[in-house]
Symmetry: C2
Subunit: 364 residues, 2 copies
Amino acid sequence: MIQSVGYAANHSFTGLKRHEFEREDPRPNEVLIDILYCGVCHSDIHQVKNDWGNTVYPCMPGHEIVGRVAQVGSDVSKHQVGDVVGVGCMIDSCRTCEPCRTGDENYCEGPNSWLATYNGPMVPSKKSPDGENHYGRDNTFGGYSINIVVPEDFVLKVPANLPVEKVAPILCAGVTTYSPMKHWGLKAGQKVGIVGFGGLGDMAAKLAKAMGAEVVLFTETEEKLSEAARLGVQAVYSKDKDQMESQANTCDFILSTIPEPTDLEPFIPVLKRDASLVIVGALDKLKPFNNMEMAMHRKSVGGSLIGSIRETQEVLDFCAEHGITPDVEMIGMDDINDAHKRVNDREVRFRYVIDMASLKTEEA
Amino acid sequence: MIQSVGYAANHSFTGLKRHEFEREDPRPNEVLIDILYCGVCHSDIHQVKNDWGNTVYPCMPGHEIVGRVAQVGSDVSKHQVGDVVGVGCMIDSCRTCEPCRTGDENYCEGPNSWLATYNGPMVPSKKSPDGENHYGRDNTFGGYSINIVVPEDFVLKVPANLPVEKVAPILCAGVTTYSPMKHWGLKAGQKVGIVGFGGLGDMAAKLAKAMGAEVVLFTETEEKLSEAARLGVQAVYSKDKDQMESQANTCDFILSTIPEPTDLEPFIPVLKRDASLVIVGALDKLKPFNNMEMAMHRKSVGGSLIGSIRETQEVLDFCAEHGITPDVEMIGMDDINDAHKRVNDREVRFRYVIDMASLKTEEA
């Protein structure tokens, strides 16, 4: 067993606290990673607060992990001790269902779906068809910790020219926005609308721009309008009806990154005919919207969930190629409860990253 | 001017009454049609009751029209006096916007959109960008009447081997379900779910079956389950949770034909990964549904509106080729108020068709 320590929540209503525990030794196909940095994703907050009703406690979040390989199992061939690597939202999948075989592990249809980096399998035993948990792990502890053990196939290579302290958010915020833009076929010269300008919106805008798309950001936070200018993209204050109307029928694709149910109704007219609005932020009941506008121009609303391992590597390489890095603010591990609050209050610009050097093995 | 008579509503709260009026003589590109039959569509009832807030009174519904050409304008080349022809939901479009030029007139983006067979342009002058009505017609009177004048390009040819008294519903119910099944690429061997088993559901099931798809009908009306067996398709009582669960993850496409907002939530799990549920029945605020299931399997919900003129001719020819006819019940013009009530009460199996011979030029 490997000694570890991290920050975990024991209940939905308490904050995160120091939590000592042990990780299993790497199996032959697994890699032990010493964590250098971990991003703070809005879903960490949802999960800690049990907003989706599926949280297993203690809950140790963190699925935007960058670290250094410390040890490899006997069968590992893809990674070597000392490599700088990343881990995103998944650490395993069933590997036999059709989506897994075609490289869409994030849509794994195995009995437990994919194994999340924290909080265990997406379909826990009590909800799985045979009542089993085929991963043999009821809970998994994420990247708010000093180390992690992950099967090599779910470990990403971090390109050498990316600044290691800024890479983490690419592993969730990056791939979550990259995957639907690729899947829905966004092309250079097309216009994409990004709803919400937080950690995901920041990455979505940068990625779309690098893909050659024209970008318009929609935000409810007026102070963020000037930040959009800094990215060189158009920005619209979505509470202003006239500004919204000026965007009617202009977007080939819209990505909604807001992490809670949003009123989609103002954004559907912004889509061109036959175009889609895809929601990646909210995993909740949507606010009701009218089918009249959808039907009149054959529009669609869809959902997308993170991205595959192949896409995660692709987006890392794409960022390296185009010099894209997330806007991050570095925090220490013991700032985490304050950081969660500030994310909720929309005060972060745009992603907190925990410097894991701040977490010592022995309590001070 | 041409003497005409039909049934129209003067208010949202009164029934339809005999209404004498005059139609303009056919212009050079227009055709005068003596109406033989007209289908009763659920949207006729919505429009009469002003459910969409856009009804112009007097409101004379009817957009499933079959008749015989009585007179042709000097430039008409596609139709001859004596031809049996059809008219669907549109009688004109702007003819210059991109959708019109590519044969998608039902998505016309002209200043007034398309000209509806009844109730005038889809975008009336007060809502059009320039405050004009470029069709020069504020209201149009539909097929609940003895004749109609229509530009030849919006007049369909009725194949000789289709029984003329049953053709009418193909012109709206038929093309409204045919168009999205073609657009979303339904293929032989795939499975399609049809939600709602009324006039549209009847046509959708027959068309999908003829396309080689496996069909499952979802109905809330238990008595209709045996009717589905008659069509040779599977049927599910959608209020039965076990029956619904047995359909999970089986459909490549779902068409919701229910003419009012439906709870879509039970049907999203029925879709396979990456599949779409398309709503053709309801033009209202949708009931809220959860994005969790959509995102987990990258599903979409879309809208579709009737079909193009090309598709309307295609579906008529397809029905002729495959021997498909709607299930109709013939009524007289003076049965119309009772018929509207029965449609609302889900008592029709499956489409009323008005025999226009029942409407005399002079009142009895």
